[in-house]
């Protein structure tokens, strides 16, 4: 009642004001609600987009490029963030002053920096992948328009060790050479784009419900390479290079059993940390000559020729061949030996490295058979190693072989092989005749360093019989013994088996063999009895000396001497190299010595009077001076008459005479 009376007492002005106020408030609320409706409903997406544009910022969570390890888990290649400097051209206040400051810090000419700063481009790279010190000094400048961002630089902590195998990446992180290139897809990290809020001061804040993703590393690669053996190989090759000043040189070290490449290097070496910004197209940066360049293997190829001949039963180790005193005409071409020899056993052909003997055996074998074995040993085709730029070598199609091609291929001319092919083929002999592809990558690893995929291939095929391999191995042992072409190849306490090669080099201009350019090669395995390592040393165009036994064999010895104890293969005792393993002739074979000591011309009459014409002996120039396969073996009989003119019986084992 009281309230009603009070209300009545209010005047009409109050009521009109109150009504007006209510209307205003209601209208205001309506306006607010209307505006809110417009913003929240009608223009919702527009304003959300705008808000996202203003507040949200996209950044990428880095994914580091995968690490490359050696077989012992040593880091060979690793990505580390480095700061890069860029500029917003239009925001630079004083380009001249900024360029002067940057020039002092970056140690670059002022003019080039100023040119960049005054460029019309909006975004300009000033310098990428700065050092930490440079980045700190640039931060202190606080120059408007200059900004730093993180990029990822590839570091190779072992520098040149394994540089050609590991390869390198370009400034954008793409693999250019080596494993970096062949495993680029595996190693390359994929950065994850993430949205994040950013306030008005460009400070980031994380408002997402999930935790921010952590930077991850992509898959890594573990190589079969051993950094220590690689270093030993490089340091020994460097010493040889200093001594003989060659054009280039290569070393391949391989595990006989697994065909894992333990070292693969070419001199001059290559440090992947030192990539020039502008690559000279003529410069072969990081090129691995041991897999990408072919050379004529010279006498080292005789072991494959001998393997093929022995495996087919065309010759036996104790069989003898006449080597024409060191010079003869074959297939219309003159073939020479460094030292003249008369009659040599097959073992001696390898031991003394007789070109004439090798050519004769090759001619006896025939191109079809020989070519098949050459391909079976892996020559003329890619080994399939996981490295880019492999060359398959140069093997002429068998149908195009002329007689002279067949003859000279017997001692490693007219054929081109890579260092890796040669090493792998020697591993066939060392392992008992089985071919297996060479391996450089052991497995792929996850970011925790655990193996996720094995790369090794267990595919093998038999090339020669175990017996043949043992026979050739015994012959190769003779090479490193006293009287062989590489008596200094065995390190103290070990017995090595190998073969030297001194191949003439074809002159690119004259297309003839240069008289003063050679490729010195030594390839072999060690220990000879239970081979652990195959080592091939190739020195191209050495100065001072050219013989494989002088230039390359010592490198083999030094590498083996350091690598074998490291691998747990201890020396078996002092190096007691036995003398040449030549059987002593009995009284009847003494006449052979007289005959073999004569020149071919004087031996010719012996053929005419030879009993049963069982031996075929022809003078110089005749092709081939080898026995036919179906020729009867001279039968052992009573002692011949002392005339000695046709007594060509060699020894009690009934060896054949060619």
């Amino acid at each position: 009642m009281e309230g009603r009376e009070q209300r009545k007492s209010l005047n009409s002005r109050y009521w009109s004001c109150r009504l007006l106020f209510q209307v205003v408030v209601i209208l205001a609320f309506c306006a607010i609600i209307g505006k809110a409706f417009r913003l929240q409903v009608i223009q919702y997406s527009l304003w959300v987009d705008q808000a996202n544009t203003n507040l949200n910022t996209k950044f990428t969570v880095p994914a580091y490029r995968g690490t490359i390890y050696d077989r012992q888990g040593r880091v060979l290649s690793y990505s580390v963030p480095q700061r890069s400097l860029y500029a917003f051209g239009r925001r630079i206040d004083n380009p001249a002053k900024t360029a002067a400051n940057l020039s002092r810090i970056l140690d670059e000419p002022i003019a080039s920096i100023e040119k960049k700063l005054t460029s019309s481009s909006h975004f300009i790279w000033i310098k990428r992948q700065l050092t930490d010190q440079q980045a700190t000094e640039i931060e202190k400048l606080k120059a408007p328009g200059l900004n730093l961002t993180d990029e990822y630089k590839r570091f190779y902590p072992y520098r040149q060790v394994g540089g050609q195998v590991v390869g390198f990446v370009n400034i954008d992180g793409s693999g250019i050479e080596g494993i970096e290139k062949s495993f680029d897809e595996v190693l390359r990290g994929k950065p994850t784009p993430v949205c994040q809020f950013r306030d008005g001061c460009s400070k980031r804040l994380w408002l997402n419900s999930s935790a921010p993703p952590e930077p991850a590393e992509s898959c890594g690669v573990r190589l079969t390479l051993d950094t220590f053996i690689e270093y030993v190989a490089e340091s020994e090759l460097e010493k040889a290079a200093e001594k003989y000043r060659p054009r280039s040189a290569e070393v391949v070290v391989m595990d006989v059993e697994t065909r894992e490449v333990l070292a693969l290097t070419s001199w001059p070496f290559f440090d992947p940390n030192m990539i020039p910004e502008k690559k000279d197209p003529k410069q072969e940066l990081g090129r691995d000559h041991a897999i990408s360049d072919a050379f004529e293997p010279g006498s080292t190829f005789k072991v494959f020729m001998m393997s093929a001949a022995l495996d087919q039963g065309l010759v036996r180790p104790q069989d003898k061949i006449y080597c024409e005193g060191g010079r003869c005409e074959l297939a219309g071409h003159s073939i020479k030996d460094v030292h003249g020899h008369g009659w040599l056993t097959m073992q001696e052909v390898i031991k003394y490295s007789s070109n004439i003997g090798a050519a004769k055996i090759a001619l006896h074998m025939g191109s079809e058979n020989y070519s098949r074995y050459i391909h079976d040993f892996g020559f003329g085709s890619l080994t399939g190693i996981d490295l880019p730029g492999e060359f398959k070598g140069l093997v002429r199609p068998q149908k195009r072989w002329r007689p002279i091609d067949l003859a000279v291929t017997g001692f490693g001319q007219s054929i081109g092989v890579t260092g890796l092919q040669l090493t792998n083929a020697i591993a066939v002999i060392a392992s008992g005749g089985e071919y297996g592809p060479p391996v450089i990558v052991d497995d792929l690893l996850n970011d925790q360093g655990k193996s996720i995929r094995q790369i090794k291939s267990s595919e093998t095929r038999r090339v020669i019989s175990k017996r043949t391999a043992d026979q050739v191995r015994a012959m190769m042992e003779l090479v490193t013994q006293e009287g062989g072409t590489a008596p200094n190849a065995s390190p103290e306490g070990y017995k090595a088996a190998g073969k030297t090669g001194t191949a003439q080099v074809m002159d690119n201009v004259t297309k003839r063999y240069a008289s003063n350019k050679y490729t010195s090669v030594f390839t072999g395995f060690i220990p000879a009895e239970h081979p652990k390592l195959v080592i091939t040393v190739i020195v191209h165009e050495p100065q001072g000396s050219s013989y494989g036994g002088v230039v390359a064999a010592p490198v083999f010895r030094e590498i083996a001497a350091k690598a074998l104890p490291y691998l747990g293969v201890m020396p078996s005792g002092p190096n007691s190299a036995p003398g040449p393993n030549i059987r002593t002739a009995d009284a009847s074979s003494a006449q052979v010595g007289q005959t073999s000591g004569k020149k071919a011309a004087t031996a010719k009459p012996a053929q005419k009077t030879a009993p049963n014409k069982s031996a075929s002996i022809k003078g110089p120039g005749a092709v081939p001076i080898v026995a036919k396969k179906n020729q009867p073996t001279p039968q052992p009989g009573p002692r011949m008459a002392p005339s000695g003119k046709y007594s060509l019986k060699l020894d009690e084992r009934g060896a054949r005479v060619y």
Binding site: Y78, P81, Q160, L205
Partner: protein, 118 residues
């Protein structure tokens, strides 16, 4: 007794003639009651609003903290990667050989200094 309790209405209105009927509460009391309720409601609303704002501020602050922690972890990860490289460089056989030769005067052992452990 139980039946009487069960048949009793749940709600009952007391009429004016009913002896239990009480006189209507005075207006000022009701205003105070209303005001008290309004103040309480307002207080609850304000507390909720403050709590909401506090939560939001906390969210923002935590967002900054998370972002900062993330940047720090990234920085530490970078440092760790640089240290890994440094460590690897220390193990470089070439460098070790240089240090051995130049700083400590080491040299490869002679043949008579080698002892093969079998």
């Amino acid at each position: 007794m139980r039946r009487a309790k069960e048949s009793a209405p749940i709600f009952s209105i007391k009429l004016e003639g009913d002896p239990g009927f009480q006189q209507k509460t005075p207006a000022h009391t009701r205003i105070w009651a209303w005001l008290t309720s309004a103040i309480l409601l307002g207080a609850v609303f304000v507390i909720c609003a403050v709590f909401y704002v506090w939560l939001y501020v906390q969210q923002i602050q935590n967002g900054y903290r998370l972002s900062k922690a993330y940047e720090e972890s990234e920085l530490l990860s970078n440092v760790q990667r640089k240290l890994t490289i440094e460590w690897s460089r220390f193990r470089d056989p070439q460098r070790l050989e240089e240090i051995g030769r130049n700083q400590f005067g080491l040299a490869p052992p002679r043949a008579d200094q080698k002892v093969v452990m079998r």
